[in-house]
Symmetry: C2
Subunit: 195 residues, 2 copies
Protein backbone atom coordinates (compact mmCIF):
# COMPACT_ATOMS: atom_id res chain seq x y z
CA UNK A 1 0.00 0.00 0.00
CA UNK A 2 2.85 2.36 0.80
CA UNK A 3 4.44 1.23 -2.45
CA UNK A 4 1.26 2.11 -4.29
CA UNK A 5 1.36 5.56 -2.65
CA UNK A 6 4.87 6.12 -3.97
CA UNK A 7 3.93 5.23 -7.52
CA UNK A 8 0.63 7.05 -7.79
CA UNK A 9 1.11 10.10 -5.61
CA UNK A 10 -0.28 13.11 -7.46
CA UNK A 11 2.88 15.08 -8.11
CA UNK A 12 6.56 14.40 -8.45
CA UNK A 13 7.55 16.15 -5.27
CA UNK A 14 5.07 14.14 -3.22
CA UNK A 15 6.09 10.97 -5.02
CA UNK A 16 9.73 11.55 -4.15
CA UNK A 17 8.82 12.28 -0.57
CA UNK A 18 6.72 9.13 -0.25
CA UNK A 19 9.47 7.00 -1.80
CA UNK A 20 12.09 8.48 0.51
CA UNK A 21 9.97 7.89 3.61
CA UNK A 22 9.33 4.28 2.63
CA UNK A 23 13.05 3.68 2.23
CA UNK A 24 13.99 5.52 5.41
CA UNK A 25 11.52 3.31 7.27
CA UNK A 26 12.71 0.11 5.61
CA UNK A 27 16.47 0.70 5.74
CA UNK A 28 17.07 3.64 8.04
CA UNK A 29 17.94 7.18 7.09
CA UNK A 30 21.70 6.62 7.02
CA UNK A 31 21.57 3.59 4.71
CA UNK A 32 19.29 5.19 2.11
CA UNK A 33 20.90 6.97 -0.85
CA UNK A 34 19.54 9.43 -3.38
CA UNK A 35 19.88 6.80 -6.18
CA UNK A 36 17.73 4.45 -4.06
CA UNK A 37 15.08 7.14 -3.74
CA UNK A 38 14.94 8.05 -7.43
CA UNK A 39 14.78 4.40 -8.40
CA UNK A 40 11.86 3.77 -6.07
CA UNK A 41 10.06 6.91 -7.26
CA UNK A 42 10.73 6.13 -10.92
CA UNK A 43 12.24 9.53 -11.71
CA UNK A 44 15.71 10.72 -12.65
CA UNK A 45 18.40 11.87 -10.27
CA UNK A 46 18.19 15.27 -11.92
CA UNK A 47 14.52 15.49 -10.98
CA UNK A 48 15.35 14.72 -7.36
CA UNK A 49 17.81 17.59 -7.21
CA UNK A 50 15.35 19.96 -8.82
CA UNK A 51 13.14 19.42 -5.77
CA UNK A 52 15.56 18.82 -2.89
CA UNK A 53 19.17 19.77 -2.23
CA UNK A 54 19.83 16.53 -0.31
CA UNK A 55 17.97 13.70 1.39
CA UNK A 56 17.66 15.63 4.67
CA UNK A 57 15.62 18.22 2.79
CA UNK A 58 13.00 15.61 1.99
CA UNK A 59 11.69 16.25 5.48
CA UNK A 60 12.23 19.95 5.61
CA UNK A 61 12.08 21.18 2.04
CA UNK A 62 8.57 22.54 1.89
CA UNK A 63 8.86 25.03 4.61
CA UNK A 64 6.05 27.29 3.63
CA UNK A 65 4.63 27.41 7.16
CA UNK A 66 6.67 30.43 8.33
CA UNK A 67 5.80 32.43 5.21
CA UNK A 68 2.17 31.43 5.62
CA UNK A 69 2.29 32.76 9.20
CA UNK A 70 3.82 36.02 7.97
CA UNK A 71 1.13 36.40 5.31
CA UNK A 72 -1.71 35.71 7.78
CA UNK A 73 -0.43 38.24 10.28
CA UNK A 74 -0.21 40.84 7.49
CA UNK A 75 -3.65 40.13 6.09
CA UNK A 76 -5.58 40.17 9.38
CA UNK A 77 -7.58 43.26 10.41
CA UNK A 78 -5.46 45.73 12.40
CA UNK A 79 -7.62 45.42 15.50
CA UNK A 80 -7.35 41.61 15.75
CA UNK A 81 -5.24 40.48 18.72
CA UNK A 82 -2.06 38.73 17.58
CA UNK A 83 -2.73 35.47 19.40
CA UNK A 84 -6.26 35.25 17.98
CA UNK A 85 -4.75 35.41 14.49
CA UNK A 86 -2.15 32.78 15.34
CA UNK A 87 -4.80 30.52 16.86
CA UNK A 88 -7.03 30.77 13.79
CA UNK A 89 -3.94 29.97 11.71
CA UNK A 90 -3.14 26.87 13.78
CA UNK A 91 -6.64 25.51 13.35
CA UNK A 92 -6.63 26.13 9.60
CA UNK A 93 -3.23 24.48 9.29
CA UNK A 94 -4.48 21.50 11.28
CA UNK A 95 -7.49 20.94 9.03
CA UNK A 96 -6.03 21.74 5.63
CA UNK A 97 -2.49 20.61 5.88
CA UNK A 98 -1.87 18.18 8.72
CA UNK A 99 -5.04 16.08 9.01
CA UNK A 100 -4.84 14.74 5.44
CA UNK A 101 -1.22 13.65 5.95
CA UNK A 102 -1.30 11.95 9.31
CA UNK A 103 0.25 8.65 8.20
CA UNK A 104 3.08 10.34 6.37
CA UNK A 105 3.74 12.67 9.28
CA UNK A 106 3.81 9.79 11.76
CA UNK A 107 6.38 8.01 9.58
CA UNK A 108 8.47 11.19 9.33
CA UNK A 109 8.30 11.62 13.08
CA UNK A 110 9.69 8.14 13.74
CA UNK A 111 12.59 8.75 11.38
CA UNK A 112 13.38 12.20 12.77
CA UNK A 113 13.27 10.94 16.35
CA UNK A 114 15.82 8.25 15.49
CA UNK A 115 18.33 10.55 13.79
CA UNK A 116 20.13 13.30 15.77
CA UNK A 117 20.95 15.45 12.72
CA UNK A 118 17.29 15.45 11.73
CA UNK A 119 16.20 16.25 15.28
CA UNK A 120 18.50 19.29 15.37
CA UNK A 121 17.15 20.47 12.04
CA UNK A 122 13.60 19.96 13.24
CA UNK A 123 14.24 22.12 16.30
CA UNK A 124 15.76 24.79 14.06
CA UNK A 125 12.63 24.69 11.93
CA UNK A 126 10.52 25.37 15.01
CA UNK A 127 12.82 28.27 15.88
CA UNK A 128 12.36 29.69 12.37
CA UNK A 129 8.59 29.59 12.72
CA UNK A 130 8.83 31.25 16.14
CA UNK A 131 10.91 34.05 14.63
CA UNK A 132 8.50 34.52 11.70
CA UNK A 133 5.56 34.87 14.12
CA UNK A 134 7.47 37.21 16.42
CA UNK A 135 8.46 39.47 13.53
CA UNK A 136 4.93 39.38 12.11
CA UNK A 137 3.43 40.43 15.45
CA UNK A 138 5.97 43.23 15.83
CA UNK A 139 5.15 44.44 12.33
CA UNK A 140 1.48 44.69 13.36
CA UNK A 141 2.48 46.87 16.28
CA UNK A 142 2.45 44.36 19.15
CA UNK A 143 4.95 45.30 21.84
CA UNK A 144 8.17 43.22 22.00
CA UNK A 145 7.13 41.13 25.02
CA UNK A 146 3.75 40.25 23.54
CA UNK A 147 5.30 39.47 20.14
CA UNK A 148 7.82 37.12 21.67
CA UNK A 149 5.29 35.45 23.97
CA UNK A 150 2.68 34.94 21.23
CA UNK A 151 5.35 33.37 19.03
CA UNK A 152 6.66 31.09 21.78
CA UNK A 153 3.24 29.99 22.97
CA UNK A 154 2.00 29.34 19.43
CA UNK A 155 4.93 27.13 18.47
CA UNK A 156 4.87 25.27 21.79
CA UNK A 157 1.14 24.69 21.45
CA UNK A 158 1.46 23.39 17.88
CA UNK A 159 4.39 21.17 18.75
CA UNK A 160 2.72 19.62 21.79
CA UNK A 161 -0.57 19.07 19.98
CA UNK A 162 1.21 17.47 16.99
CA UNK A 163 3.12 15.08 19.25
CA UNK A 164 -0.01 14.03 21.05
CA UNK A 165 -2.05 13.70 17.87
CA UNK A 166 0.59 11.53 16.18
CA UNK A 167 0.82 9.28 19.23
CA UNK A 168 -2.95 9.10 19.71
CA UNK A 169 -4.42 5.80 18.68
CA UNK A 170 -7.94 6.94 19.46
CA UNK A 171 -8.11 9.10 16.34
CA UNK A 172 -9.03 12.38 18.05
CA UNK A 173 -8.60 15.18 15.48
CA UNK A 174 -5.68 17.58 15.72
CA UNK A 175 -7.99 20.54 16.32
CA UNK A 176 -9.29 18.86 19.48
CA UNK A 177 -5.72 18.22 20.61
CA UNK A 178 -4.99 21.91 20.06
CA UNK A 179 -7.96 22.86 22.24
CA UNK A 180 -6.92 20.42 24.93
CA UNK A 181 -3.31 21.60 25.03
CA UNK A 182 -4.31 25.25 25.03
CA UNK A 183 -6.69 24.72 27.91
CA UNK A 184 -4.10 22.80 29.92
CA UNK A 185 -1.41 25.42 29.29
CA UNK A 186 -3.73 28.13 30.41
CA UNK A 187 -4.70 26.14 33.52
CA UNK A 188 -1.09 25.44 34.46
CA UNK A 189 -0.02 29.06 34.07
CA UNK A 190 -3.02 30.54 35.77
CA UNK A 191 -2.98 28.43 38.92
CA UNK A 192 -2.16 30.32 42.11
CA UNK A 193 1.43 29.77 43.13
CA UNK A 194 3.74 30.65 45.96
CA UNK A 195 6.09 33.32 44.62
Amino acid sequence: MLDGMARWAPDTRERLRAAALELFEERGFGATTVPDIVERAGVTRRTFFRHFSDKREVFFGDDEIPSRATAMLRAAPPAAPAFAIAWTGLRALAVERFEPRRDQMAASRRIIDAEPSLRERDLQKQADLREAIRAGCAERGSDPLTSRVVAGVTVELLQTALERWLADEGGMPLTRHLDEVRERMSGVLGSPLPS
Copy 2:
Protein backbone atom coordinates in the same frame (compact mmCIF):
# COMPACT_ATOMS: atom_id res chain seq x y z
CA MET B 1 39.14 43.55 32.96
CA LEU B 2 38.03 40.50 31.02
CA ASP B 3 41.67 39.49 30.87
CA GLY B 4 41.86 39.74 34.63
CA MET B 5 38.78 37.54 34.88
CA ALA B 6 40.48 34.86 32.84
CA ARG B 7 43.59 34.84 34.97
CA TRP B 8 42.03 35.00 38.39
CA ALA B 9 38.77 33.11 38.02
CA PRO B 10 38.37 30.83 41.03
CA ASP B 11 38.68 27.43 39.41
CA THR B 12 40.25 25.96 36.31
CA ARG B 13 37.02 25.16 34.62
CA GLU B 14 35.74 28.68 35.00
CA ARG B 15 39.13 30.05 33.95
CA LEU B 16 39.06 27.99 30.76
CA ARG B 17 35.54 29.10 30.05
CA ALA B 18 36.35 32.78 30.57
CA ALA B 19 39.44 32.51 28.35
CA ALA B 20 37.47 30.77 25.60
CA LEU B 21 34.69 33.38 25.68
CA GLU B 22 37.20 36.22 25.46
CA LEU B 23 38.81 34.63 22.42
CA PHE B 24 35.50 33.77 20.76
CA GLU B 25 34.50 37.41 21.14
CA GLU B 26 37.83 38.74 19.92
CA ARG B 27 38.39 36.39 16.98
CA GLY B 28 35.14 34.54 16.37
CA PHE B 29 34.30 30.97 17.29
CA GLY B 30 35.65 29.46 14.06
CA ALA B 31 39.05 31.12 14.27
CA THR B 32 39.75 30.16 17.90
CA THR B 33 41.65 26.93 18.57
CA VAL B 34 42.08 24.85 21.71
CA PRO B 35 45.81 25.79 21.86
CA ASP B 36 44.74 29.48 21.83
CA ILE B 37 42.40 28.85 24.74
CA VAL B 38 44.89 26.96 26.90
CA GLU B 39 47.54 29.59 26.26
CA ARG B 40 45.22 32.37 27.34
CA ALA B 41 44.09 30.45 30.42
CA GLY B 42 47.64 29.46 31.34
CA VAL B 43 46.93 25.74 31.61
CA THR B 44 47.97 22.69 29.63
CA ARG B 45 46.11 21.19 26.70
CA ARG B 46 45.64 18.09 28.78
CA THR B 47 43.82 20.12 31.40
CA PHE B 48 41.47 21.51 28.75
CA PHE B 49 40.51 18.03 27.64
CA ARG B 50 39.96 16.92 31.20
CA HIS B 51 37.18 19.49 31.38
CA PHE B 52 35.76 19.69 27.84
CA SER B 53 35.67 17.29 24.91
CA ASP B 54 35.98 20.16 22.37
CA LYS B 55 35.56 23.93 22.15
CA ARG B 56 31.82 23.67 21.51
CA GLU B 57 31.48 22.04 24.92
CA VAL B 58 32.79 25.19 26.57
CA PHE B 59 29.27 26.53 26.19
CA PHE B 60 27.40 23.39 26.93
CA GLY B 61 29.61 21.30 29.13
CA ASP B 62 28.14 21.98 32.53
CA ASP B 63 24.72 20.77 31.83
CA GLU B 64 23.59 20.16 35.36
CA ILE B 65 20.29 21.97 34.86
CA PRO B 66 18.31 18.93 33.65
CA SER B 67 19.59 16.76 36.51
CA ARG B 68 18.82 19.57 38.94
CA ALA B 69 15.26 19.65 37.59
CA THR B 70 14.97 15.90 38.02
CA ALA B 71 16.23 16.10 41.60
CA MET B 72 13.84 18.95 42.52
CA LEU B 73 10.83 17.11 41.13
CA ARG B 74 11.82 14.02 43.14
CA ALA B 75 12.43 15.90 46.36
CA ALA B 76 9.21 17.96 46.41
CA PRO B 77 6.25 16.90 48.59
CA PRO B 78 3.92 14.52 46.74
CA ALA B 79 0.99 16.94 46.93
CA ALA B 80 2.84 19.88 45.32
CA PRO B 81 1.55 20.68 41.82
CA ALA B 82 4.21 20.03 39.18
CA PHE B 83 4.25 23.54 37.78
CA ALA B 84 4.60 25.08 41.23
CA ILE B 85 7.75 23.01 41.72
CA ALA B 86 9.10 24.01 38.32
CA TRP B 87 8.34 27.67 39.00
CA THR B 88 10.14 27.60 42.34
CA GLY B 89 13.04 25.93 40.56
CA LEU B 90 13.18 28.64 37.88
CA ARG B 91 13.31 31.38 40.47
CA ALA B 92 16.03 29.64 42.45
CA LEU B 93 18.05 29.07 39.28
CA ALA B 94 17.65 32.74 38.36
CA VAL B 95 18.98 33.97 41.68
CA GLU B 96 21.70 31.44 42.37
CA ARG B 97 23.02 30.59 39.00
CA PHE B 98 22.13 33.11 36.33
CA GLU B 99 22.15 36.52 38.07
CA PRO B 100 25.81 36.27 39.15
CA ARG B 101 26.89 35.43 35.60
CA ARG B 102 25.01 37.92 33.50
CA ASP B 103 28.03 39.35 31.66
CA GLN B 104 29.38 35.95 30.79
CA MET B 105 25.97 34.74 29.66
CA ALA B 106 25.46 37.80 27.47
CA ALA B 107 28.83 37.16 25.81
CA SER B 108 27.93 33.48 25.29
CA ARG B 109 24.61 34.49 23.79
CA ARG B 110 26.22 36.73 21.18
CA ILE B 111 28.59 33.95 20.15
CA ILE B 112 25.88 31.29 20.00
CA ASP B 113 23.59 33.54 17.97
CA ALA B 114 26.34 34.05 15.39
CA GLU B 115 27.19 30.37 14.92
CA PRO B 116 24.63 27.93 13.44
CA SER B 117 26.22 24.79 14.92
CA LEU B 118 26.06 26.36 18.39
CA ARG B 119 22.48 27.48 17.87
CA GLU B 120 21.43 23.93 16.95
CA ARG B 121 23.18 22.58 20.03
CA ASP B 122 21.53 25.23 22.20
CA LEU B 123 18.09 24.21 20.93
CA GLN B 124 18.93 20.58 21.64
CA LYS B 125 19.90 21.57 25.18
CA GLN B 126 16.49 23.16 25.68
CA ALA B 127 14.87 19.98 24.34
CA ASP B 128 16.88 17.92 26.86
CA LEU B 129 15.65 20.08 29.73
CA ARG B 130 12.08 19.77 28.48
CA GLU B 131 12.40 16.01 28.44
CA ALA B 132 13.91 15.90 31.95
CA ILE B 133 11.00 17.95 33.31
CA ARG B 134 8.41 15.90 31.45
CA ALA B 135 9.87 12.64 32.77
CA GLY B 136 10.15 14.07 36.28
CA CYS B 137 6.49 15.14 36.29
CA ALA B 138 5.38 11.75 34.96
CA GLU B 139 7.41 10.04 37.71
CA ARG B 140 5.47 12.10 40.29
CA GLY B 141 2.22 10.83 38.82
CA SER B 142 1.18 13.78 36.66
CA ASP B 143 -0.84 12.66 33.64
CA PRO B 144 0.95 12.68 30.26
CA LEU B 145 -0.71 15.87 28.98
CA THR B 146 0.08 17.82 32.13
CA SER B 147 3.65 16.49 32.22
CA ARG B 148 4.29 17.54 28.65
CA VAL B 149 2.63 20.94 29.07
CA VAL B 150 4.42 21.77 32.33
CA ALA B 151 7.73 20.91 30.65
CA GLY B 152 7.01 22.93 27.52
CA VAL B 153 5.72 25.97 29.38
CA THR B 154 8.62 25.94 31.85
CA VAL B 155 11.31 25.83 29.17
CA GLU B 156 9.56 28.44 27.03
CA LEU B 157 9.17 30.70 30.04
CA LEU B 158 12.82 30.37 31.02
CA GLN B 159 14.04 30.89 27.48
CA THR B 160 11.93 33.99 26.89
CA ALA B 161 12.82 35.53 30.23
CA LEU B 162 16.55 34.85 29.67
CA GLU B 163 16.46 36.50 26.23
CA ARG B 164 14.72 39.57 27.57
CA TRP B 165 16.93 39.81 30.64
CA LEU B 166 20.13 39.58 28.57
CA ALA B 167 18.88 42.26 26.17
CA ASP B 168 17.59 44.51 28.97
CA GLU B 169 19.76 47.52 29.55
CA GLY B 170 17.61 48.70 32.42
CA GLY B 171 18.99 46.05 34.77
CA MET B 172 15.67 44.53 35.81
CA PRO B 173 16.42 41.25 37.62
CA LEU B 174 15.73 37.93 35.92
CA THR B 175 13.12 36.99 38.52
CA ARG B 176 11.07 40.04 37.51
CA HIS B 177 11.42 39.09 33.86
CA LEU B 178 10.14 35.62 34.76
CA ASP B 179 7.10 37.14 36.47
CA GLU B 180 6.45 39.41 33.52
CA VAL B 181 6.69 36.65 30.92
CA ARG B 182 4.53 34.30 32.95
CA GLU B 183 1.84 36.91 33.36
CA ARG B 184 1.89 37.75 29.65
CA MET B 185 1.74 34.07 28.65
CA SER B 186 -1.19 33.53 30.92
CA GLY B 187 -2.92 36.63 29.57
CA VAL B 188 -2.38 35.64 25.95
CA LEU B 189 -3.67 32.10 26.49
CA GLY B 190 -6.59 33.05 28.63
CA SER B 191 -8.08 35.74 26.41
CA PRO B 192 -11.47 34.89 24.87
CA LEU B 193 -11.07 33.80 21.25
CA PRO B 194 -13.24 32.88 18.32
CA SER B 195 -12.91 29.13 17.89
